[in-house]
């Protein structure tokens, strides 16, 4: 690549932004007794370092599960252990059992932030760079611009480096998985994706498209010949990697069950009442308190049905016509369906939708940019709680400028560029005057931007009326949820009307 220096520059810009954001506050800074996700991660280091592996997921006098008990899969625990060994060398007080609870200092913050940066640098960033280099039919400059936009995505930066989490690890592994299966290294891809699931169970949102895509590939090769061999190989890879990750826990049944109970706390309810999530259930609860009306198991059933139904069409289509492009779009719709309809969703889970949207940024720049802006906006209440207003505004603007200049998004709003050509053509068979779609979308974008800006301004400047203390967060979630629904429909349309007519068009052109 003759322009490697531009790519290096882009990576360095990404790193600089990440580190400058990390100078800001983190979740639960100076807020005893529970603190926040930062303390959770520190606590996990303490637990994994000081307790034998069999006790990590069990409640005991040394491990109070109500105080940030470990509820992520084993890989996260191993990562914490690794960090703890480093912490031990620098300052043993940081991970001392019991006494280190709620430990906060500038040096410790620096250490924690550095662990995030290193993990990001090792896993997520190389995956993004490689993904952009592998893109076809693009000039080098466009590839670099694409990498810049993906690396500047504010949601991930703010949650990982502001709020404090290690999403870049699980998302990075998932991205390696996408890269693998799109480039015909199916085994490596599925291995990477298994690692992602074993780092964070939320990666299950992406599992169906992976499954369908690989299954579709097997079908395509013929289930009696090569396809079957591939299927067996894949199954072995998945089982082996899972067993490897769970090795200390699979030996006893009680261990495995306890870990699973910790990972999937179904008894916690449809959504957390204190968090405002931009999904259907939380938004509906404004009008209808489903959580109180329906019994627990009915809630589970309803949410399962809705999720399943909403992602079914895209998945079937992917099995029948597996293509890397369809795979990326199905990743988007599946993750979005899970986010909107499934059980126990966190606002941060929108990042799982944003990752695949980043991957289609070069194909539908206008809509992707819009979606990514909305996704960051939907986390506004959380970011404000963490005192991250300034970095939020700055990174969002930087991202917007980067996207606007590198893709000139406002000139790319024709039917063709929104990938709605074949859809419009088929609608026009029934409604001949159906030509206003691009204009409608442009107006929607404008309106959406204005609402987002206004709501942000209101949240920051106005005090909510005493009767509704949660007015603004609820409004933010409600508005974002509506937009997400719109995006779900849009992405499903792209998938359903895509390849067959798209391919025909290319042939005729």
């Amino acid at each position: 690549m003759e322009k490697w220096y531009l790519m290096t520059t882009v990576v360095l810009i990404g790193l600089t932004i990440r580190w400058t954001v990390s100078l800001n506050s983190y979740s639960g800074a100076g807020k005893p007794p529970m603190f926040g996700d930062y303390e959770a991660q520190r606590h996990w280091q303490e637990i994994t370092f000081n307790l034998p592996i069999k006790q990590w997921y069990f409640n005991s006098s040394d491990n109070n599960l109500l105080y940030w008990g470990l509820d992520y899969p084993p890989l996260t625990a191993y990562h914490s252990l690794l960090c703890a060994y480093v912490a031990k060398v620098i300052n043993p007080d940081w991970i001392a059992l019991h006494t280190s609870r709620g430990y906060e200092s500038e040096a410790h913050k620096l250490f924690m932030r550095a662990t995030v940066l290193i993990a990001d640098l090792l896993i997520y960033i190389p995956a993004v760079v490689l993904y952009c280099c592998c893109l076809k039919e693009m000039s080098t400059k466009k590839k670099v611009a694409n990498a810049l936009c993906i690396l500047l995505y504010p949601g991930l930066i703010l949650i990982d480096y502001g709020h404090f989490q290690y999403n870049s690890v699980s998302l990075g592994f998932a991205l390696w998985g996408v890269l693998g299966v799109s480039c015909h290294w199916d085994l490596l891809g599925s291995l990477a994706f298994c690692l992602a699931i074993n780092y964070k169970q939320m990666e299950l949102y992406h599992s169906l498209p992976f499954f369908c895509f690989l299954l579709g590939k097997c079908f395509k090769k013929g289930l009696k010949g090569k396809g079957f061999v591939l299927l067996v190989k894949l199954a072995c890879t998945v089982v082996a990697s899972f067993v490897l990750c769970w090795l200390p826990f699979v030996t006893e049944k009680e261990q495995t069950l306890q870990v699973l109970r910790r990972l999937f706390p179904v008894d916690r309810g449809l959504f957390e009442a204190r968090d405002k999530v931009a999904n259907i259930w939380c938004s509906l609860s404004v009008f209808l308190k489903i959580k109180n009306i329906l019994p627990h198991h009915t809630q589970i059933k309803i949410s399962f049905c809705f999720t399943f139904l909403s992602l079914l069409p895209a998945c079937i289509k992917l099995i029948l016509q597996p293509s890397p492009k369809g795979f990326r779009y199905t990743l988007v719709t599946c993750a979005l369906s899970f986010f909107l309809f499934s059980f126990q969703v966190h606002e941060k889970s929108i990042l799982l939708v944003s990752l695949p949207v980043c991957l289609v940024l070069n194909e539908i720049p206008f809509m992707s940019t819009w979606f990514l802006l909305v996704s960051t906006f939907s986390m506004l209440p959380l970011l404000l709680k963490d005192d991250l207003l300034m970095p939020t505004i700055v990174t969002v603007m930087a991202f917007f400028i980067a996207c606007a200049t590198s893709f000139s998004i406002f000139e790319k709003t024709s039917e063709e560029e929104l990938q709605l050509k074949s859809f419009s053509v088929s609608v026009r068979k029934y409604v001949p005057c159906f030509t206003f779609l691009p204009r409608v979308i442009q107006h929607l974008f404008l309106m959406s931007t204005i609402t987002m800006v206004l709501l942000t301004l209101m949240t920051v400047t106005l005090d909510p009326p005493p009767k509704f203390p949660d007015l603004f967060p609820v409004l933010v979630c409600f508005v974002s949820c509506l937009k997400f629904l719109f995006f779900l429909v849009y992405f499903n349309i792209i998938i359903m009307w895509d390849s067959k007519s798209g391919r025909n068009q290319k042939k005729t052109d």
């Binding site: 790193l15 600089t16 800001n24 930087a398």
Partner: protein, 526 residues
């Protein structure tokens, strides 16, 4: 939002670059800030709460007002905005006051005044001859130049982390240079006169302005061999130039002359009581001189040629502004540095007079003035290197030889700014930003001049690569060795000596290129 729309429409790369760096500056708000932050807060308080007559007498804080009057008026103007942020920062007795609103206001005042800098860069880009237009955007000289100026590493860390107002001052200088390039001499002269009354450090480059305006503006014609045609002297031009300088000076110093305070103002502006070198030696000739003295004294002690009892105990580069006693070599007086500086500047001035090469020649002379005074000046700050680095960027995109000198000068000069930021959270920022700027500047200029001979020879490459191990040693190895307590000055000494070599070399090469360059013939000029 209007600016956002502007950047978005039609992919205007210049506004995107400018907005991008502005956003980066906003992200740097919570970083470490030096005592200069308190200096400027104190000046806000002084100018806001005291009458003009006491501005240069006030000394509640140790950071007395020591910039020329225009800067004081500038602070005065800022203070009227500041009062809407936090009234308390305008209280003279509130020493070291740094509430979050004060921080926000001060940081934003720097970011906001940088608009002038952005405008100046925009004007400078117009002066670059776009003979290579039509290529890819990232390979256009204009694009490269605007990145080199807008994203300049030194300016970013000195202004937006360390805290100073160099951005708009540099903007004034670049703008006046651009005006001279555009043949708007009067405007250029006016801008420079104003600049001088903002910060008197720009006096260093005043000879270049004076001679250039006299030679190429007041004399309107040359003889065929390029020497001056004495009878072409235009009196009106000289008088109008003089009038501009006089009026600006009168506006600035007049009130203090009326108050009979001029001597006091000047004693504040030129404090010769400070030492030869700053606490951390700027990487110039005197740093090499001091280092040599140190080495000689150590050798002398080892060989028992020196008496240990007679050696002054002042440990060098220990963090206080103090007189540094030389042990072996003769001590340096302010007068000696002044003479050295004048001698170093003279050849370039002669060149400007006898071998006029238009605005480009002027720019070279200006850079040489800045560099020479950096090399030999009294109590030079390491930040003063920006005075040479920024104008040099303009030259770098024009010629391969200049690009090579620029890269050596910039890389070493920027590296020598590292000791300004010594806190742990800023360590990754300075390394990342430095890498960002250095990698970009070297690669983009290499791409720009790829058809010519390589920009660096093996020696220069080796020297520049040596900065890496030096940084690793100073920041990552040295603090963990047993020498940390005994030789705490070692990293600073190594840094400034190493960088001094590079800057001296760049200065020397630039001088050689200016002196040996053949005079430009008329045909080439057009």
């Amino acid at each position: 939002m209007a600016a956002l729309g502007l950047a978005a429409s039609g992919g205007n790369w210049f506004s995107a670059l400018a907005l991008g760096v502005t956003l980066l500056k906003c992200l740097l708000i919570p970083t470490y800030h030096s005592t200069d932050f308190e200096v400027h807060r104190n000046w806000l308080a002084i100018t806001h709460s005291l009458p003009v007559s006491q501005w240069y007498y006030e000394e509640t804080s140790e950071w007395t007002l020591d910039y020329p009057p225009f800067f004081a008026w500038f602070e005065y103007a800022l203070s009227h905005v500041a009062k809407y942020f936090d009234q308390e920062m305008l209280n003279i007795h509130n020493l070291n006051y740094a509430s979050s609103k004060t921080l926000l206001f001060q940081r934003f005042s720097v970011i906001f005044t940088d608009i002038l800098f952005v405008y100046a860069v925009h004007e400078c880009c117009k002066c670059i001859d776009g003979k290579k237009a039509g290529k890819e955007l990232t390979e256009k000289p204009k694009f490269i130049l605007s990145v080199l100026l807008l994203w300049n590493f030194g300016l970013l860390i000195v202004d937006h982390i360390h805290f100073q107002y160099n951005g708009f001052l540099m903007g004034l200088m670049l703008l006046s240079i651009a005006r001279l390039f555009q043949k708007r001499h009067m405007e250029g002269a006016l801008l420079f006169a104003v600049l001088l009354h903002f910060k008197h450090i720009y006096l260093y480059v005043a000879p270049a302005y004076g001679i250039y305006l006299l030679r190429s503006y007041c004399f309107t014609a040359n003889k065929p061999d390029g020497s001056v045609r004495w009878n072409s002297f235009n009196f009106v031009r000289l008088i109008s130039l003089g009038l501009i300088v006089f009026l600006v000076s009168a506006l600035s110093l007049g009130p203090f002359l009326a108050l009979n305070q001029l001597p006091q103002v000047f004693s504040r502006l030129f404090p010769f009581k400070r030492g030869l070198c700053h606490a951390y030696w700027a990487p110039n000739f005197w740093a090499l001189y001091n280092a040599l003295d140190k080495v000689l004294s150590v050798i002398g002690l080892k060989l028992k040629l020196l008496d240990p009892n007679k050696i002054p105990k002042a440990s060098m580069t220990s963090g206080l502004v103090q007189q540094f006693q030389h042990t072996v070599l003769p001590s340096v007086t302010p007068l000696a540095t002044l003479i050295c500086t004048l001698i170093a500047i003279l050849p370039s001035i002669f060149c400007l007079w006898f071998k006029p090469q238009g605005p480009k020649g002027f720019l070279r002379c200006l850079i040489l003035c800045a560099l020479s005074s950096f090399m030999f000046g009294w109590h030079v700050h390491e930040k003063a290197i920006l005075l040479a680095v920024l104008p040099m960027s303009l030259l770098s995109v024009g010629k391969a030889g200049d690009a090579s000198i620029f890269l050596i000068l910039t890389t070493t000069g920027h590296y020598s700014l590292f000791p300004l930021l010594f806190t742990a959270p800023e360590l990754p920022i300075k390394i990342l930003l430095m890498l960002l700027f250095t990698i970009y500047s070297i690669s983009s200029l290499k791409t720009l001049f790829r058809k010519e001979k390589p920009l660096f020879n093996w020696m220069e490459t080796f020297y520049l690569l040596g900065l890496g191990p030096l940084e690793v040693f100073c920041e990552f190895v040295f603090p963990f060795t047993s020498w940390k307590l005994k030789y705490s000055f070692l990293p600073l000494l190594l840094t400034s000596a190493y960088c001094a070599v590079g800057i001296t070399y760049a200065w020397f090469r630039l001088y050689v290129s200016v002196l040996t360059d053949p005079p430009v013939s008329k045909t080439k000029k057009q």
